[in-house]
Symmetry: C2
Subunit: 239 residues, 2 copies
C-alpha cells in the first residue's frame, strides 16, 4: 500500500485522460513528488481501481492517463449510519470509521440533545474520501447535510431496518441484529442519549429495533464502530 | 453523568477518609471548583463506585470522605487486547477504546513491522483511567509494558484463546469467535500487517484462531473496536 491512491471524480477506462486541478497537482507533484511517467492508483467510486500514469505534471495543473483496471468496482452492503454530531474531532472520526466499516451513506441527524457547532457536509465528505484513499476502498460513502431526526424518520423507507443504540435498555429487552436480508441503518444518539420523547417514538416505529451494546457506556464513536461491526457480521459482508 | 468522577488508588468504604495529592486537589478544587461539602463519584477499580464528600479543600492537598456505595464492583469478562503500537494519537485511542470495550488487560506488543516511538506504559495507564472516569466504569484495565510478540506467545497460557486479525485470510478460512467459555485475547497487528514468519507461527499455535474483519482494510484502532465488539457479543457480557 505504499503506492499513492487518489480519489478522482472523473470517468475511468483504459486510455482515459484525466485532467488534474490545482489541489491535485499540488498534492501529486509538490507533496508526493511524482514525476512524468510515475504510476499511482486512482478510483472514482464507480469504475473500480485503476493504475494511472502521470502524462503531464505542472505546478497548477496536470494530466493522468488510466492504464489498466487493478480492481473491479465493489459496493459494500446496503448499510447507512445515522449519528448525532458531537465534538468536531470525534465527528470527523465517526465519518472516517463509517467509511472504513463500509457504510454506503452517512446521515448526520439533529436530535433534542445534540449540542454541536454547524456540521459542514463538504468537510465530512473530504474525510470520507481520505478514509477511502487510505484504506484501499474503491467506494466513498455519500454524506448528507444534517437533518432533524424527526424529519428523517418521517420520510423513512419502511423496508430498511433502523437499529438504534439505546443504553437505557435492559439486557432482556435488547435485540442483536439478526439476519433479515433487508437493508439496514445504525442510529447512534448524542452523548446525552435520546430524549424520552425520541426514545418513545423510536420504540414505536415498526421498522426500528433497539440494540444494546453491553453494560458499559460507550462514547458515540466507539458505539458506531461496534454497532457497524455487529451488523456486518450478521447481515453484511463479514459473514 | 454531570457529576465529577475520579479514580483514586485508595481503599473505599463507608466513612473512609481519602487524602488527596496535589494533582487531585488542583483538579477538584482549582479546575472543577468543588468546595467543602461537595459530592462527587469515586472508584478505585476494586470497591465499586462511591459517593464521596469534600471534607478538606486546600491548594495542594485535601481530603474526601466516602459516604455510600452507589454501584457495586463489576468486573468485565476475561478479555485482553494485544496490539502493536502505531502513531501516538492512535495508540492513545486504542487504549481508550479498550477500556470502554471492557478489556481487563492491555498488552502492547512489538512485532517485526512495528515502527513506533517508545511506548510509555504510565501514559497509556493515564488514558485508561481517564476513559474509565468518563465512561462510568468502575474498572480500569491493566496496561503492561511493551514486550516482544514472540516472548508473549512463548509464555502464553494455552487456556486463553488468542483471536488474531489476519487481513490476508480468505473468507473461507476465517473463523468468527464462537462461544467457548474460555478467556480470550484479541491481537491486532501493525499497519503493515504481520510478517510471513509471524503469521506462520500464529497459525500453528494451538490456542490461536484467525479472524477476518471483512473485505475492507481497517485501521488498527478500528479493527480493535470491531474485534472486541464481536468477542463481547459472542463470548462476553453483550450476549
Amino acid at each position: 500500500m505504499s503506492k499513492v491512491r487518489l480519489f478522482l471524480d472523473h470517468p475511468l477506462a483504459e486510455g482515459q485522460p484525466v485532467p488534474l486541478g490545482a489541489d491535485q497537482a499540488h498534492y501529486l507533484f509538490g507533496v508526493m513528488r511524482l514525476g512524468l511517467g510515475a504510476r499511482l492508483s486512482v478510483f472514482n467510486g464507480r469504475d473500480g481501481e485503476w493504475e494511472a500514469e502521470v502524462a503531464e505534471a505542472g505546478k497548477r495543473a496536470g494530466r493522468l492517463v488510466a492504464r489498466e483496471q487493478t480492481r473491479p468496482q465493489a459496493m459494500p452492503p446496503d448499510l447507512w449510519l445515522l449519528f448525532a454530531p458531537i465534538k468536531k474531532a470525534r465527528t470527523d472520526f465517526i465519518v472516517e470509521k463509517a467509511a472504513e466499516m463500509g457504510c454506503r451513506r452517512i446521515r448526520p441527524v439533529q436530535t433534542e440533545f445534540t449540542n454541536s457547532e454547524r456540521v459542514r457536509a463538504d468537510r465530512l465528505r473530504a474525510h470520507a474520501v481520505e478514509a477511502a484513499e487510505q484504506c484501499g476502498g474503491v467506494f466513498v460513502p455519500e454524506v448528507d447535510e444534517i437533518a432533524r431526526l424527526g424529519d428523517v424518520l418521517a420520510g423513512w423507507d419502511v423496508a430498511r431496518t433502523l437499529w438504534f443504540c439505546d443504553e437505557t435498555l435492559a439486557a432482556a429487552e435488547a435485540s442483536l441484529p439478526a439476519w433479515s436480508g433487508s437493508p439496514g441503518a445504525v442510529l447512534i444518539g448524542p452523548e446525552g442519549g435520546f430524549s424520552d420523547a425520541e426514545r418513545a417514538r423510536l420504540r414505536a416505529l415498526p421498522f426500528a429495533r433497539p440494540i444494546r451494546l453491553g453494560p458499559r457506556i460507550l462514547r458515540a464513536d466507539t458505539a458506531a464502530v461496534a454497532a457497524l461491526a455487529l451488523w456486518q457480521m450478521v447481515e453484511g459482508d463479514w459473514r
